[in-house]
């Protein structure tokens, strides 16, 4: 199965990047789930958490504020002014 190549980017650094199976993010409209093969999308992030299910390993949760999310061609970029991983 195809995978998503994900990068979570904050203003001053790249927070996380890697391959993932699924992403759940919260836009201003509500939660949105992204699987491989998703149509191109540009959305504004609401306050909340982004959950990334990597190809291997446990779910990664990141807090992202002030940003947006773009999906194209199985590449997901989560861009936020402030972003950090939640342990």
């Amino acid at each position: 199965m195809a995978e998503l190549s994900v990068s979570v980017v904050a203003a001053d650094r790249e927070v996380w990047s890697g391959a993932a199976k699924q992403i759940v993010a919260r836009t201003t409209e509500g939660e949105i789930g992204i699987l491989p093969g998703h149509e191109p999308l540009l959305g504004i992030l609401g306050a909340g958490e982004v959950r990334i299910t990597p190809v291997s390993g446990a779910v990664i949760t990141a807090r992202a504020e002030d940003g947006f999310l773009s999906v194209e061609n199985n590449t997901v970029t989560i861009v936020a002014g402030r972003a950090e991983l939640v342990a």
Partner: protein, 300 residues
């Protein structure tokens, strides 16, 4: 010791202390520049992602939005000048200010009123001395800019831009003037119009025979653009600040290196002169003794 010799010795000592200071500053800048460059590199993915998204929206959606459309007869233009807090960095601040003055002349000849936003103590001092009014000033931390400052600047600008120049309060255009970091030896002052969107530079070219996809917007195109506008401005401002910080360190390192070299030259020159004066003094003393002895001998 002769008076002349003492004067030379004093000058040598003074040049030596100056040299110690300039050498230390050179070394400090040299170590900080690496950190500044690393921060610039670390923020690159963010800037790239934002620019890409903005250009995607601007190119692939036919919507009229403040972000992309130029206002009819713009009246007021914001000019943001990025300088340093401290001097001793060669022409770093003055070349940006010169560039800003040229921009101001150009904008005024086009019938626009210029609103100044100043970053760095040097710009604030320059404008205060000439009694030019600044809409807002930011001082401190230009050598290690934080995202919070960038956000504050961006918020101010976006608020002014949304207000518009009609009422004589806001602005219709935003220009930024900063030192672009080209390399360790070259930093060029650059003027960029950030709003309305002009040319999006640094956009990653889509791969071969690949076209940028048609985006789905969540929630709506207008809202996405509204949300993207401040983020885009923030990223441009932050990028300008980081570039400016790197340039500042590079410029200071270069200026301090030449100051150290000059101090070396001065020390060498004065040492020669001091040696000369010492020899002249000795020669004079000898001739005085010889002359005295001769006079005594002939008096007998």
């Amino acid at each position: 010791m002769g008076a002349q010799l003492r004067v030379y010795r004093q000058k040598i000592r003074s040049a030596q202390t100056t040299k110690k200071i300039t050498r230390a500053m050179e070394l400090i800048s040299a170590s900080r520049i690496q950190k500044a460059q690393a921060r610039m590199a670390a923020s690159a993915p963010y800037a790239r992602a934002v620019t890409r998204a903005v250009s995607a929206v601007a190119t692939y959606s036919n919507v009229d939005h403040v972000l992309t459309t130029e206002r009819e007869n713009p009246r007021r233009a914001a000019v943001v000048v990025f300088t340093s807090d401290r001097g001793l960095a060669g022409g770093f601040s003055s070349q940006v200010i010169r560039e800003a003055n040229e921009l101001r002349t150009r904008l005024e000849s086009e019938g626009r009123e210029v609103v100044n936003y100043l970053v760095g103590r040097k710009a604030v001092q320059y404008y205060a001395f000439r009694r030019r009014v600044a809409a807002k000033e930011w001082m401190g931390g230009t050598d290690q800019p934080t995202f919070e400052t960038a956000k504050d600047i961006a918020d101010t600008l976006v608020a002014a831009f949304i207000a518009g120049g009609e009422g004589g309060e806001g602005v219709d255009e935003i220009h930024i003037v900063y030192n672009r970091f080209v390399s360790l030896v070259t930093q060029t002052p650059e003027i960029v119009r950030v709003l309305p969107l002009e040319v999006v530079d640094g956009v990653e070219e889509p791969g071969e025979s690949e076209i940028l996809p048609l985006y789905e917007f969540e929630p709506e195109v207008d809202q996405v653009l509204d949300g993207l506008l401040p983020v885009y401005i923030e990223s441009r401002i932050f990028n300008a600040m980081l570039q400016s910080a790197s340039s500042e360190h590079a410029a200071r390192q270069k200026a301090m290196k030449s100051a150290t070299d000059n101090a070396d030259k001065l020390i060498r020159e004065y040492t020669r002169l001091a040696n000369n004066a010492r020899q002249a003094e000795i020669t004079q003393q000898i001739s005085e003794i010889v002359g005295g002895a001769d006079a005594l001998a002939s008096a007998k």
